[in-house]
């Protein structure tokens, strides 16, 4: 039997108790054509170095846990194959723009806090009870937001966004795409509530349309579109605010 093909992985390591900053460590891993980069990392952990730390769960691009920089591109480690980087070395690093806790594990609490502020849930436009039955909508109405509903919170878009890197207070691509998902839902009545997030400096105006977020999204969400669809409305609200006394700069909003 012939020897299995091998690939070199150069993995970013950071153990805060001993490292002052990230360093690179090389591993040589045998691989087969169907092995993902995540499986390469798992091979390292199981056979070469048990101290390597990374997040993963579903192995099929649904859970959004295994996002990392692979040769400088934000990717889900389970969504790309070792064969495409052979013979290496392929560089695997923690997601860009996030604080690194350990090896490939980032601290995503900033995103979770932002997600809480965008009201990414249905706020029914009219009072309903379960007795009213299913809250239906037409396929056409659903088509408007369906793409945005595919977000799995994997944060690849944040790693792709230099504005988030420069200004961590920017709400960011995924949070604003999820905001737009509910704003476009014709059963929803929470627009006024979300306008406060949209119109803020850290809202849609933090985006300068680099557009790379939409390129890296593994689920085809297109956050750049979700954000920029809001700019015309936000600008109109700002200008109208100057015309209508008392409404200026959202003074009448709760």
């Amino acid at each position: 039997m012939s020897e299995p093909a091998k690939i070199t992985l150069e993995v970013q390591r950071y153990h805060p108790e001993q490292d002052s900053g990230p360093r690179w460590q090389r591993y040589t891993v045998p691989y087969t054509a169907e092995m993902s980069v995540l499986e390469g990392l798992q091979y390292i952990k199981d056979h070469l170095d048990g101290s390597l730390t990374f997040r993963w769960s579903c192995r099929m691009a649904i859970c959004g846990s295994c996002g990392c920089m692979i040769d400088g591109e934000p990717e889900l480690a389970c969504h790309v194959f070792l064969r495409d980087y052979a013979p290496g070395p392929v560089r695997v690093a923690a997601l860009d723009h996030f604080p690194i806790q350990r090896d490939l594990v980032i601290d995503h609490s900033d995103f979770l806090e932002k997600l809480e502020t965008v009201h990414s849930y249905l706020i029914p436009a009219e009072e309903r009870t379960p007795a009213d039955g299913t809250h239906r909508q037409t396929p056409q109405a659903m088509a408007d937001y369906y793409d945005y509903a595919q977000c799995i919170n994997c944060l690849l878009c944040y790693a792709a966004c230099p504005q988030y890197g420069w200004h961590p207070d920017f709400a960011g691509p995924a949070a604003l795409a999820l905001l737009q998902r509910y704003n476009l839902d014709d059963r929803d009545g929470g627009h006024r509530l979300r306008e406060r997030v949209i119109d803020a400096e850290q809202g849609v105006w933090g985006c300068t349309l680099v557009g790379y977020c939409s390129e890296v999204c593994p689920k085809g969400v297109d956050p750049a579109r979700a954000i920029n669809q809001n700019k015309a409305g936000s600008a109109a609200r700002y200008l109208l605010g100057w015309w209508r006394p008392g409404r200026r700069r959202g003074e009448d909003r709760e």
């Binding site: 056409q140 088509a143 230099p162 557009g211 669809q229 015309a232």
Partner: protein, 132 residues
């Protein structure tokens, strides 16, 4: 027990990290040449107001090969900026429908180009008429 320290990556050399960032900088940077050209036109307008001699001096400057080169660069920058601007246009619009069908990005971009060309030709014809 306190939490171990996190490592905060810097943004130094961010534009070297991906071609998408360099394309973005080129796109935004091309508007600087457009602004420079607008200032040049403004200088022409000011010299026109200052009198015939000043205006003729401004016109003569166009014979300078450097000035010609910058004009050429500004033209190329304007074309590049227009291409990228129209390409991004659909991202700023809500989902538009025609007869129940969603209008595709490609149709929107083509429509924007056609409108732009039609308006430019219109202005051009008007100016030609004015000269005659």
């Amino acid at each position: 027990m306190s939490r171990p320290p996190v490592y905060r990556p810097s943004m130094r050399g961010w534009w070297q990290r991906h071609p998408a960032y360099r394309r973005y900088l080129l796109r935004e940077g091309s508007s600087a040449l457009l602004a420079a050209y607008a200032l040049w036109l403004l200088a022409g307008l000011v010299s026109l107001a200052a009198g015939e001699a000043a205006y003729e001096r401004w016109r003569e400057l166009h014979g300078n090969p450097w000035v010609f080169g910058v004009h050429l660069a500004a033209l190329l920058a304007a074309l590049y900026h227009a291409v990228t601007w129209f390409r991004l246009l659909p991202l700023t619009l809500p989902a538009l429908r025609w007869g129940g069908r969603r209008i595709t990005d490609r149709t929107l971009v083509r429509g924007a180009w056609l409108t732009s060309v039609a308006l430019s030709v219109g202005v051009w014809l008007y100016l030609l008429g004015g000269v005659r």
